[in-house]
């Protein structure tokens, strides 16, 4: 059994999707997988449609950032041809007709497969995202934890 690590920095629907396909594929090949979510990638871990009341009081700017970020994985924008969400809807329609798994289905599968997901606490503070707003079953840590995991890994991707 080998190990794979992925950094999910992007909050683009297509990039996040690619990251989860690779992660799920590796887990299906008996690899231990760790995904580290930082900055815009944190949006992928948000509970659907802003569920979860934040525990800490947010500053005005933190409120602004967290308010402007996508509220759930299915609200992430695609990196090209998004056209204010219209392109995303069209792409999702094609994906559905081709039986391609959505990002939320890929996340659920990742959790079933025991993929370790770590949220970067520093970027959570910057973007005003609290633990309560993120899905259950994830871990919270920083760069040293990620580097420790990456040291033991034979594939490391920055998405």
């Amino acid at each position: 059994m080998s190990k794979k690590t992925l950094i999910v920095f992007s909050g683009d629907y297509d990039r996040v999707m690619a990251a989860f396909i690779i992660a799920n594929g590796a887990a299906a090949m008996d690899d231990e997988v760790t995904m580290f979510f930082t900055f815009w990638g944190l949006s992928a871990l948000r509970k659907t449609d802003g569920a979860g009341a934040p525990s800490a009081v947010k500053s005005g700017l933190q409120k602004m950032f967290s308010g402007m970020l996508p509220k759930s994985p299915e609200k992430l924008n695609i990196s090209r041809f998004n056209f204010g969400g219209l392109g995303r809807s069209m792409m999702k329609k094609v994906m559905k007709s081709q039986n391609v798994m959505s990002v939320s289905e890929l996340i659920a599968t990742a959790q079933e497969q025991g993929i370790k997901m770590i949220a970067c606490t520093m970027s959570m503070d910057v973007l005003g995202i609290s633990k309560e707003e993120l899905i259950d079953g994830i871990e919270y840590a920083g760069v040293a934890t990620y580097l420790g995991e990456a040291d033991e890994s034979n594939v490391n991707l920055f998405v």
Binding site: I21, A27, M29, D30, Q98, N99
Partner: protein
């Protein structure tokens, strides 16, 4: 890939995984899920429509240590066979 289509078709009652209509990474997820229920030494057949499985299932077998026996296409479906080795 060693077995001929005739040999593959002659395999009796393999465990069947139906991954038809499912896109990547669906077929390997389905294979991973169902291989645990197969007895070591027995054959598992995967039905798929995603052409990527022709490369992906052999790669999955190499990684997992199972013997890939071969594949054939029939009536719009790809039939892939492997023997659980451990």
């Amino acid at each position: 890939m060693s077995a001929s289509v005739e040999e593959l078709k002659a395999i009796e009652s393999p465990a069947v995984v139906d991954a038809r209509g499912v896109s990547c990474p669906g077929p390997i997820l389905a294979a991973k899920k169902q291989i645990s229920g197969v007895v070591v030494g027995n054959v598992m057949e995967i039905l798929a429509t995603d052409s990527g499985t022709l490369k992906d299932i052999p790669a999955w077998c190499r990684k997992m240590g199972h013997d890939f026996l071969g594949s054939f296409e029939e009536a719009g479906a790809i039939h892939l066979f492997l023997r659980k080795a451990k």
